[in-house]
């Protein structure tokens, strides 16, 4: 098995607020992330695909395909957006690093795992950095 990782960056703003909580609870639980005007990060996304290289091409999957999938599913949706208001998949959710990483996993898995003759890889891990000191890994159930 070979693990292939591609990295992309996007910049986005967000805020943490749960309307079911009182204003005081929101401030206590979410701290400065509760600022109603939002704030932003430079996110770094690392997507790892696991698979056996195709003996004819030597590739786990066509990197151009992976690049296009990341562009379409992640960058077009999230880059330079306010995540709470402009990304339908995050509507009504708290866009923490955990939530964004899980959403990205759900967007990517059906695309990467169903490339047919263009790649036999399986999505193995989504790693999302919010800052250099905070990141989240999502893996499949068996990992």
């Amino acid at each position: 098995m070979v693990y292939l990782t591609r990295k992309v960056e996007f910049s986005a703003s967000h805020l943490y607020h749960n309307p079911a909580f009182s204003p005081e609870e929101n401030r206590r639980i979410f701290g400065k992330c509760n600022n109603p005007h939002g704030h932003g990060h430079n996110y770094i996304l690392e997507v790892t695909v696991a698979g056996e290289p195709d003996p004819r091409t030597g590739m786990v999957l066509d990197l151009k395909e992976l690049k296009d999938i990341l562009q379409r599913e992640v960058l077009d949706r999230m880059d330079h957006r306010f995540l709470n208001y402009e990304v339908p998949e995050l509507a009504g959710k708290i866009p923490t690093t955990e939530t964004i990483a899980m959403t990205i996993w759900q967007l990517l898995e059906p695309r990467i795992n169903n490339l047919g003759h263009r790649g036999q890889g399986r999505l193995h891990r989504v790693r999302l950095y919010e800052t250099p000191d905070l990141f989240v890994d999502c893996t499949g159930k068996g990992a």
């Binding site: 079911a20 959710k93 923490t96 939530t99 990483a101 905070l134 999502c138 990992a143």
Partner: protein, 140 residues
Amino acid sequence: MKVVLHRRYRFSASHRLHQPGWTPEENLRVYGKCANEYGHGHNYVLDVAVTGPVDPATGMVTNLADLDAFIERQVLAEFDHVYLNEQVPAFRSLVPTAENICRVLFDRLRAYPHARLQAIGLEETGSNSFEYAGESRENT
């Protein structure tokens, strides 16, 4: 889907690698310049990885304010800017290699009440890093 949150912390500390039961020559042969009797220091980077269900009300595995406060209490308050051999009781009888520091820290951090400790990582320098996930299979 499994979600693991990683948070990195920093502390600077000095140590000396030395076994009191060995001769100076043996210590020098095994530990090289790390056996220097006055010690030396590093900027350590600690990666704490915790896992658990994501609470739909908060979107979090754990609140970072809770994790930060716990690490401050359990690690940074005692490990930052100290001489590990003399000032951390665990290392009075245990050589403070990065491997042993990992084990001591993992045992302290597994008591975190708000999520399950998955593993820790420790960078001693930009070239040396270590990972430890405990001895049982529960964390694999």
